[in-house]
C-alpha cells in the first residue's frame, strides 16, 4: 500500500469520525431539541401531530348534524369487521323513503388503525380523533357508537364533498 494513501486513509477516517461526533455533540448540548414529552405531567398541553390515529370518530357540527348517510362502504371495507352500521328506513317530508343511520357502531378493540374506512368514506363523515387514552376495565366499553344521540343527517352533502375536494 502506498504510504500517502495510508496516511490519507488515517486522516480521512479522523475527519469523518469527527463529523459524526460533531452531529451528536450538537444535539447533546441542546436540551431544547429534546422531543420526548413528560406525559402525565403535561397532558393538558400535549402536542399531538395532526396525522395521529387515535380512534375513528364521526364529525358533528354545531347543530348536532353529521354527514353519514349510512351507505355502508366503511363497513364493507373494514378488514376486521370493526364497523357495524344499523340503519333505518324513514319517510321524509317529500314522501320518499330514505335511509338514515340509527347507530354507527365502532369496535375499537378490533381496529388496526389501517384507515381504509376513512379513505373510502364518500361523504367524509368519519375521521381520525386524537384521543389516545383508551384503557378501560371492561372491554364492552371499547364498543362505541359514533353518531351522537339525537343527531341527524346534514342535507348539503354534495356541496361539502365538492368544497373538500377543491
Amino acid at each position: 500500500m502506498n504510504i500517502f494513501k495510508y496516511f490519507g486513509e488515517v486522516f480521512g477516517a479522523i475527519r469523518s469520525l469527527w463529523a459524526g461526533m460533531r452531529v451528536t455533540g450538537y444535539y447533546s448540548i441542546r436540551p431544547g431539541k429534546v422531543v420526548t414529552q413528560k406525559y402525565p405531567e403535561n397532558r393538558k398541553k400535549l402536542i399531538i401531530a395532526e396525522r395521529f390515529k387515535g380512534e375513528v370518530i364521526m364529525t358533528h357540527d354545531a347543530n348536532n348534524q353529521h354527514s353519514c348517510n349510512g351507505c355502508g362502504i366503511c363497513e364493507m371495507n373494514c378488514p376486521n369487521g370493526s364497523i357495524e352500521i344499523i340503519s333505518n328506513k324513514i319517510t321524509n317530508a317529500e314522501g320518499k323513503s330514505e335511509r338514515v343511520i340509527d347507530k354507527h357502531i365502532y369496535h375499537l378493540s378490533m381496529c388496526t388503525f389501517c384507515s381504509l374506512c376513512i379513505k373510502t368514506c364518500p361523504s367524509n363523515s368519519i375521521t381520525w380523533g386524537h384521543d389516545f387514552e383508551h384503557a378501560v376495565f371492561d372491554r364492552n366499553k371499547l364498543t362505541k357508537v359514533l353518531n351522537q344521540p339525537g343527531s341527524s343527517i346534514r342535507k348539503e352533502i354534495k356541496e361539502v364533498k365538492e368544497t373538500k375536494e377543491a
Binding site: V10, G20, M21, T24, K33, V35
Partner: protein, 363 residues
C-alpha cells in the same frame, strides 16, 4: 490531627500512627487494609451505579430524549432501584455449566478492576499503594479481567457465551499492545513508571500540552485502544446484542450479571482515570508558567476535584463516541489494530524517543 484537602499525606500518616500506637504493627496493617477495602467497595458501588446513570443520560441527550427522570429527582435513584431489583432476582443455575468456574468468573472480573483502582492516585497522598512500577502494574492487572470473561464464556456451556468470550480474548490481546505503547510514550517523557512521579512531573504543564503533537497522537490512540480493551462500543463485539444475545454474560442472572455490568463501567472509570493521570496531569491543577494569579486560583480547587473532573471529561468523550459510531465487524476491529493503530503507535514511540533525546518538548 491535621486534615488538609490539598495534601492527604498528613492525614494518612495520622491514621497510621493512631493505629500503630494502639496495636501491634501486624494488626495495624490488617486494619488499614480493611479500611481501604471498605472505602474502595463503597467507592466502587457509587461510581459504578452513577456511571450507568451518566451513560443513560448522555445517550438520551445525544438521541434527543430525556433519559431516566422518574425515580428520585432527575432519575438519580434509578440505578439504585435497578441494583435492588437485580439483588432480589433469582440466580439461575445452568444445567451443564461448570459450576465452580461459572461462579468464579464474575469475581475474577471484579477483582481485576479492584486491583487496578488500588494504584490510582486520587489526590496528593491519597492512593492505596504507590508502586514504583505503577503503570506496569495497572497494565498487568487491567488485562486480568479478560480471564474472567473467557472463563464466563467457557463455563456457561453456551455457544453465544463462548463466541463472545473468544472475540473478547482476541480483542483484548490485540488492543493491549496499543494501550501499553501509548502509555509507554509518557513513560519516555517523564522518565518514570511511578504514578506519583508522573503526576509530579506535570506540575508545570500536563504532558498532553508539554509533549505536543506526539502526546496528542498517543492520547487519541490510548482512547481508542482502551475503549476496545474495556469491551465498550463501538468495539462491544464481545456482547453484540444482535448476533450473540449478550455475549459472554448471556447465561448470567441476578447479582452475577450485575457484577459484570458494574465491572464494565468500573473498567471504563479506570482507563479514564489512567488517561487523566498520565496525559492530563492527574490531580495536578492546570498551570500556565508565568501567570501566577491564575495558577493560585487553580490551586484553590482541591486536587480530588481536579482528578474526578478530568476523569469525568474522558468518560464523557468515551460515552460520546460509543453513542455516535456504529459497531465494527470483527475483521475491521483486528484490521484497525494491526494495520493502523500499532504501526502508528510504533512510529510515534520512535518520534517521541527522538524528541526526548533532542529535548524538543516543553520542560
Amino acid at each position: 490531627m491535621d486534615f488538609n484537602i490539598y495534601d492527604f499525606t498528613s492525614f494518612t500518616t495520622w491514621v497510621h500512627n493512631a493505629l500503630t500506637s494502639s496495636m501491634s504493627p501486624g494488626w495495624a496493617m490488617f486494619v488499614e487494609l480493611a479500611i481501604v477495602g471498605v472505602v474502595f467497595i463503597a467507592f466502587y458501588a457509587v461510581i459504578g451505579l452513577y456511571l450507568v446513570y451518566a451513560e443513560r443520560k448522555v445517550c438520551a441527550l445525544i438521541q434527543n430524549r430525556k433519559g431516566p427522570n422518574r425515580v428520585g429527582p432527575f432519575g438519580l435513584l434509578q440505578t439504585i432501584a435497578d441494583l435492588f431489583k437485580l439483588l432480589m432476582k433469582e440466580l439461575i443455575y445452568i444445567k451443564n455449566a461448570d459450576k465452580f468456574l461459572f461462579n468464579l468468573a464474575p469475581f475474577i472480573v471484579i477483582i481485576a478492576s479492584f486491583m487496578a483502582i488500588a494504584a490510582l492516585p486520587f489526590a496528593k497522598g491519597l492512593h492505596a499503594i504507590d508502586l514504583n512500577i505503577g503503570i506496569f502494574y495497572l497494565f498487568a492487572v487491567s488485562s486480568l479481567g479478560v480471564i474472567g470473561i473467557l472463563l464466563a464464556g467457557w463455563s456457561s456451556n453456551s455457544k453465544y457465551s463462548l463466541i463472545g468470550a473468544i472475540r473478547s480474548g482476541a480483542q483484548v490481546v490485540s488492543y493491549e499492545l496499543s494501550v501499553g505503547l501509548a502509555l509507554l510514550s509518557i513513560v519516555i517523557f517523564s522518565g518514570s513508571m511511578q504514578l506519583s512521579t508522573i503526576v509530579e512531573s506535570q506540575a508545570n504543564g500536563w504532558w498532553i500540552i508539554k509533549g505536543h503533537i506526539p502526546a496528542i497522537i498517543s492520547f487519541l490512540i490510548f482512547l481508542v485502544a482502551s475503549t476496545a480493551e474495556t469491551n465498550r462500543g463501538p468495539f462491544d463485539l464481545a456482547e453484540a446484542e444482535s448476533e450473540l444475545t449478550a455475549g459472554f454474560h448471556t447465561e448470567y442472572s441476578g447479582i452475577k450479571f450485575a457484577f459484570f455490568f458494574l465491572a464494565e463501567y468500573m473498567n471504563m472509570f479506570i482507563v479514564a482515570a489512567i488517561a487523566a493521570t498520565v496525559f492530563l496531569g492527574g490531580w495536578m491543577p492546570f498551570h500556565i508558567p508565568g501567570l501566577d494569579g491564575m495558577n493560585h486560583v487553580m490551586d484553590y480547587i482541591p486536587p480530588f476535584v481536579w482528578f474526578m473532573g478530568k476523569t469525568a471529561f474522558i468518560i464523557f468523550i468515551m460515552m460520546w463516541f460509543k453513542w455516535t459510531f456504529p459497531r465494527l465487524r470483527i475483521d475491521q476491529l483486528l484490521k484497525l489494530e494491526w494495520k493502523y493503530l500499532l504501526p502508528l503507535n510504533l512510529m510515534n514511540i520512535v518520534l517521541i524517543a527522538f524528541i526526548v533525546l533532542m529535548g524538543w518538548y516543553i520542560k
